[in-house]
Every structure is written in structure tokens, then in C-alpha cells.
Symmetry: C2
Subunit: 328 residues, 2 copies
Amino acid sequence: MRKSFLELHHEFERVLLNLGFSPERADACAQIFTQNSCDGVYSHGLNRFPVFIGDIKKGYIDIHASPKLVKSMGVIEQWDGQLGLGVLNAQFCMQRAIELAKQNGMGCVALKNTNHWMRGGTYGWQAADAGCIGINFTNTIGIMPPWGGKSPAIGNNPLIIAVPRKEGHIVLDMAMSQFSYGKMQEAELKNQELPYFGGYDNADQLTRDPKIIQQNKRSLPIGFWKGSGLAMMLDLLATLLSGGKSTGAITQTGEEKGVSQVYICFDLETYENSEALINQILTFTNSADKINDAEITYPGERTLQTRKYNLANGIPVDEKMWAVLLSL
Amino acid sequence: MRKSFLELHHEFERVLLNLGFSPERADACAQIFTQNSCDGVYSHGLNRFPVFIGDIKKGYIDIHASPKLVKSMGVIEQWDGQLGLGVLNAQFCMQRAIELAKQNGMGCVALKNTNHWMRGGTYGWQAADAGCIGINFTNTIGIMPPWGGKSPAIGNNPLIIAVPRKEGHIVLDMAMSQFSYGKMQEAELKNQELPYFGGYDNADQLTRDPKIIQQNKRSLPIGFWKGSGLAMMLDLLATLLSGGKSTGAITQTGEEKGVSQVYICFDLETYENSEALINQILTFTNSADKINDAEITYPGERTLQTRKYNLANGIPVDEKMWAVLLSL
């Protein structure tokens, strides 16, 4: 089943208005959720929307709160998200980082007490649309064992790096686990093994069984010890620069709210020759001999293809999730 | 065989002075190579020194060149390394990034036309010693296949993130391949398989055979498609921000020289409560249940242990490499 961008947007907006969102906020939130589905990130578009609504109803998210400036230090700003809407707080802070970069070449905004931003790539595309290199990351609740451990004690902190390009931005949006819980669920529903090791079984052996990993929460960081270390560093940076909650502190509250985030921008429009250098890099990487009929893509290439296809043909929606949305 | 820090330093210095280094430069370079071995990174200390000397003799490195300011844009500076000594150029640029951060909260230095910095962590420790969060990365010659490819067309671009801490800095120093060529050579010499998949064999299957991967140059990026994408992003950022050579352009010259690098610092001394937040994060991560008798360490923890041990007991040196050093 496919729905148009407008249909999906309209239904999201309707639900949000009914919850008391201002028209501007309902529109802005609906836009982000619709775009996430349109870009093929269904797990953080339609399929996540009911959870988001649930969190609002539970009072985890203050739908009227706005970010508050804590401290301005020239090219760096600290903001308090006041437990508001994660998607709008994130959009606001990336916009501030863009503005700081336009004024100073670069800018950094650190945000504390915010909520789930859904898909981190949203804000990478935003930076790139503004002609900026964007780097953003968030911490999360403890959801993955650190290297050497078997109970969760690091976040699956995603890192986004975006580079603007006329023919299509290059946007890396990667979490620290080899497979997301969404991917593992998908494989389980299809009765498939994961294509590569995705975690540990209960006998401490690496496994491709998505069911076991979802049960024991022993997902595998990318590159084993390396992804585990990188997850720690992102938590350190987000916590220190924002003065907010660490993965540990979030975990102790028992709910994933009040997370810490960082947004860094460089204004690439002040640099000469960027398009040529970018295309040189993409062309070189794509020049490698391919494994059989494999494609070599740059980060974000498939997102753009999916976006174009879905805009032309409608956005695929899960029938059950669509029914849930209509019932909200 | 173990040698004291001073003995090793003295021999390095002697060779460099004989090559026409100024006393200051000979001392500074010797210090970095000795510290790398002292910290347990033998591959980029003593064991790399003869290659470094060879590159100088081949004329790849101008031992008298100094970095030249290309453009100053407030908190961002672009420098030209003028094909000088990679280790001193790197140290200089991290020092500039520290100074910019001390003045402005943060600073970024992009460096083009420089040479191999040996161990990227050196400059992370430098930033942390100055009370700064440091982020630095370099591109390299094309040495790894991108995801989907089977011939090298991305760099094994290392990423370093450092956080200062009184009891010992936290320093992540990770290249994008699962195993370095140094580690693969070590395993091969011991007739061991790699502990995890490290690359592809000639039938396009994942393999733990270090010999095959060293032959076919098909090493595996961390997290498969994720590390491949991150390597591309680091090349993009280093090339764009410095206006220097990309991995592709370096590869086309046939020699790994004239690489591009980025140094970013945040002055953490202006933030309150950092030590407590850092220790909270380390304590939380270490609270995970352990797999058997595994240790959970933070990035840099083992480096510091090794440093202390080697300072007290002497630095392990390979007998053959020591003989080579004495013969230089």
C-alpha cells in the first residue's frame, strides 16, 4: 500500500493538532515524520509515530516547550531542550549551528534535556541543504554491551556526517550497532538469519540469529571494540559539551528522555572548488572493481533514489500501521 | 630486549642529526617516535623509523619545510604542510587548534600537502594534555576496497577523539580497517588466524586468513558498509576543509605523500563539572556484566598502562629493528 506525501503528512498533522499542537508545530513535526518515511526510513517515520504519540500522552514530552539558551560562547552555544519535542529541538539547534557557521565559518550547538530526534540524518540533510558540512550525534539510553561486557552499558549513539553537493548530498547516518533492532525484527519476521554476525548468543558466541539478540539485548558494535569505543566517545562529547545527561544518567532514570546532542557545522559555501573535489572522491571510490554485480554507493545515494521514487509513486506504508494512524 | 626511553630517543636523534635535521627538529621527531614505542604502538615507533628515513632519503619529505598559513578565517585556519615532516606538521597544527580553542572555545585547523603523521593518537594526547577535547583525522592512499568493491579505492583513514581527564586521558585512535597490516603480519608470523573476519579471500568470501588479505589487499572496513562510508566521509572532510589531495588524488601519484588532515579542538577547561561527568560515564560502562574474565577498558586505558610499565621497565624493542637502527 502506498500513500502520497500529502496524505501521510495530513494524517500526522491531524493527530498532532488533536493533541493540542500549534499549527506551526503540527506542520513541522508532520513534515519530518513524512520525510523520514519518504526517504525510506520507515522505522523512524510512520512506524515510530504511535510510539511518539504514546510518549507525549505519558507526559515524557512537553509539546509546548522551546529550547532555551544556556550559554553563548561565541561560535559555541549551549541550549536546554526543556524536554520538548526532540525533532523540533534538533531542527532548531541544527539551524543555530548553520547560522553560527554562516557568521563564523563554523559553529557548534550542544543541546541537553532533549528527546528522541527520530532519524539523525534529517538534520544532516538540513545542514547540507544550507550549504554546510554537518556533523551531529546524540547519546541514547544504555542499549548495547560495551566490548568485553554482556549487559547493556553503552548507547547506540548515532553519528551523522553530511556534505552538501548539487547533484545530491552525501549523508552518512550510522548507529553504533551492526544492525538496528528494526532490521533484526525484519529478519526475524522473515525467518531469516542476519547476513553477518549481529550480536552474541547466551553462550557468549557470536550469532546471526536476530531473535536471540533481540531477547538478550547483546547486539554487536560495529568493528567490535572500535564501535564500542566510538560509542563511548560520542557519549562523552555530547554530555560534556552540553552539560547534560550521559547514557548512564539516562539509563538510571529508566526512560529514554532528556538526552544530550551536538550539532557542528562548517559553511562550505566559502570554499572554492568543492563540487569538483567531491565528485573526484565519488568517482574514485566507484572505480573499484566490483564483487559480482554489487553496486558501490556513496552514503545517502540510496536515500535520494528512494525519495525520488516514493515522491513519484507514493510512500509505502504498512497496512497495520496505517490503520493505527487513522485510529489515533 | 628492552631499552630505556633515553637510549631509544638518543639513537633516533643521532640518526636524524646525521641526516641534517636541526637540533630542535631532531629532538622533537625523536621524542614522537620514542613516545609511540613507549606507548606500545611499536608499528609507528621504532618499527616504522627505517621506512621514515627511507622516505626522507628518497626525497618524499622535506626535512626543513615548515607549515605555511594559507588562509585564516577566524576560528578556522588552512595550512600548507609543504611536504614537510608529517609528525612535526601534525604537532604544529594541533597546537594551532589548541590555541584557537583557548581563544574562541573551539578551533579547527585543516592541513594539506603533509606527510604521514605516524600514530594519530599522538596528537589526541597532545590536545588532551592541553585540557582540550581533540578530534583529528587524516586521509591516506587508497588501501582498502569500498563496500561492494574488491580493489582498493578508499583510505584507511584513522579517526582520533581525545578527552582530557586528570587520572588519564580517554583517547580513541582507530583506523577504518578491522585489523591493521601490522596486526595481520603479526598473526601470520605466529601462524595464527585473525580472531574475527579481517577481509575477503579471492573467492569473495570473508576470511580470517591474514596471509591472503595481505596479498590481495582486500581488508575489511569496521562494520562492513558503515566503516566504508565513514572512511569516505573523513576523506571528504579532510580534502574539502584543507583544499588538499583526496585519497584518489594521492593514489594517482603512486606514493603516499601530500595527504590532507583536520584538527579540531574544544577547550574543556571552560566547562564546569567535566571530571565528574567523565568518571560517571567510565563507571557506568564498566558496570556491565563481563564475559568470563574479560576486562572492560576505556579507549586509551591500556596505552597509559603500557606507557607506565615501559617507562619503569624499558621499552621492548625488536632485536632486528634495534640492529637496523644502530646501522642507520
